[in-house]
Amino acid sequence: MTAALLAGVTFVAFLILFLAPGDPFAALLGGRTLAGPEREAAYDALGIPRTWYGQYLAWMGNVLHGDFGVSLRTGQPVARELVASGARTLFLTLGSLLVTLAVAIPIGAYAAVRPASRRAWALTMSAYVVSALPTFWLGYLAIYVFTRQLGLFPILSGTGGPQEHAWLYAALPVVLLGLGSGALSEVVRYVREEVARVMAEEYVRTARAKGAALWRHVYKEGLLLPVAEIVASKMPFVLSGAIIVEQVFNWPGLGRLAWQAAQDRDYPVIMAITLAAAVVVRLGSFLHRAVYVAVNPRASHE
């Protein structure tokens, strides 16, 4: 399944690149758009297969040998760029996911246990409000507050960031991406529904009847499984959110790389990013499955 999915994903990405008008190899050909035999000759000279599926298969073959090719724009090996910016983006996205969960789970669980309480309503509403604001606007606002009002660091200082308050400069986008981008309200809603559903299960009533602590019986189905599912289902979206935040904070990550590559139609880079993103998504599913099997004794028999 995983192999079939990865092949499918890269194929779709390649198809879109191919379907686009113009020649993705124009950059290699010195900016000229050639046609007919002239192009074929140029392709042959560069060792590029003539047909699009030939190109796809060639790319695929190289990837299977660990060769992701060279960026058309920078001439750097794609693998190196991918690893460098991927690590930074992973820090950003995983960090922000933790922030989302840390904020949303208590709110969702509280709202499920006390559906009628005003505090729960206020907390839920604030989560909704934060989620309903555009991330980049929040980002600008945060930068304004920290640079102009507090003067903690100079405006948009570029790649490395300042030495002083470096941790804050790194934490800011993480927190922002965690709170913004709509994930917060979604997780709050999901956790609330799941906890409420599990609280109404018959076995939870049994737990009440025997005088046991309810959370001990609720947390597995009501919390562990939903959280694993959220993590898995959020994986496809973290990269998307990262593009915006990386742009705002000048964070040289995968998102910016993707944005740049899409504009330049730097196909080796795009293909590599697509593949990497798909791998991360599959890893998320595996994690979900692993938690499911660990928690649910039935799973290994299904």
């Binding site: 006390r114 009628a116 309480s117 299960e201 018959e202 076995y203 009533r205 049994t206 737990a207 009440r208 009847a209 025997k210 005088g211 046991a212 001990r216 019986h217 597995k220 189905e221 928690v295 649910n296 004794p297 039935r298």
Partner: protein, 364 residues
């Protein structure tokens, strides 16, 4: 009068608020019951008669829903405890006649007070088992863990090894086959009958004073039902357990109960010794008689091969009629009492020692 009953329920009422109908569903509507030490009280009734809700109310297991529970529930262990104490302060009930028309209730404080009242009683002094045991056991934990939890919560055996030992003891008591193996099984791996045995073991593991069994055989296969009934009878004899048995299965109640209460539309219609009430002499409440007659048994077949059915539908517990609740379906009503039945609800009056019937036919 002999020793005071272990559990006394006086005028218990449990009303749920239905948002869809914007009205109160009077699930339990003035129930008085007593359970003496060592006896088994069977509660018989059809769905919607309030038999389960009454005992769930005693256990504080319905308080989460918007509704109201009033009355007195006294549990006399070493000293009497009132299980609904202090709850009436937290609600304002507006009545029109005998009908509740509005309730203002501090849900959170109510919940907290109910939990305080039941702390140590629920699960410890009074244990409860449910129907559909496979869904009622936690599917994510082994049967053994769940029983050991009850041991640690309510008995002196706090150490895990000691708790496990006690749990295994109780698994043996319910005669589950190969208890050591079952200890590490999850509920899904067990048959319905084995799950019910495990659930009984879990309830007993707390060494309670009283066991409430809510439809313990419903949904199990016939051959398995017989085994569970046999087990309960055996435990009752060996441990001298006080038990409340709720069931729609008159056969099961007849086998296990010493005394029986028959409920209809949230009310007790008849109570008394099991042999007399379910004996089928036709001298009790018309509802009990009709219930016994409609069971699919050979002797109930009429000449034409028809079963004697109770005509009409189960009582609407929102618009309970004035007068006797069973009046509309009663087959023994006659012109001599008709007016009286329509006018006022009969009291639950003693017709013989220990036997009470709520029917005008039995009252001069």
């Amino acid at each position: 009068m002999s020793a005071p009953p272990l559990l006394g329920i006086e005028d218990l009422r449990t009303y749920f608020y239905s948002r869809v109908k914007q009205a109160f569903i009077r699930s339990v509507d003035g129930v008085d019951l007593e359970v003496a030490r060592g006896e088994t009280l069977g509660i018989v009734g059809e769905s919607g008669s309030g038999k389960s809700v009454a005992m769930l109310s005693v256990m504080g297991l319905v308080s989460a829903a918007p509704g109201v529970i009033t009355g007195r529930v006294i549990f006399r262990d070493e000293r009497p405890t009132e299980l609904l104490a202090g709850l009436d302060r937290l609600v304002t009930v507006e009545r029109r006649g005998d009908r509740i028309v509005s309730v203002v209730k501090d849900d959170r404080a109510w919940q907290a007070q109910a939990e305080r009242n039941l702390d140590g009683v629920r699960g410890g002094k009074i244990a409860m088992i449910f129907q559909n045991p496979r869904a009622a056991l936690n599917p994510f934990e082994t049967v053994g863990q769940q029983i050991a939890e009850a041991v640690r919560l309510h008995t002196g055996a706090k150490h895990p090894a000691r708790a496990k030992e006690r749990a295994l003891h109780w698994l043996e008591q319910v005669r589950i086959d190969s208890p050591r193996l079952r200890y590490d099984n999850h509920p899904y791996g067990l048959s319905g009958g084995m799950c019910q045995r495990a659930m009984i073991a879990m309830a007993l593991a707390a060494e309670p004073r009283m066991l409430i069994a809510d439809e313990p055989t419903t949904g199990l296969d016939a051959t398995i039902q017989a085994r569970i009934v046999e087990l309960l009878a055996d435990l009752k004899a060996r441990l001298g357990m006080t038990m409340v048995l709720i069931s729609h299965d008159i056969g099961v109640v007849g086998r296990l109960a010493d005394r029986v209460a028959v409920m209809y539309g949230g009310r007790v219609m008849e109570s008394g010794p099991a042999a007399e009430v379910l004996g089928g002499q036709g001298d009790g409440h018309p509802y009990t008689g009709a219930l016994l007659a409609s069971m699919p048994r050979e002797e109930n077949l009429q000449a034409k091969g028809r079963l004697p059915a109770i005509e009409g539908e189960v009582l609407d517990t929102i618009n309970t009629p004035r007068g006797c609740r069973f009046r509309a379906r009663c087959q023994r009503i006659h012109d001599g009492v008709r007016a009286r039945c329509a006018e006022a609800e009969p009291p639950l009056a003693e017709v013989a020692p220990g036997r009470r019937v709520r029917c005008w036919l039995h009252q001069p």
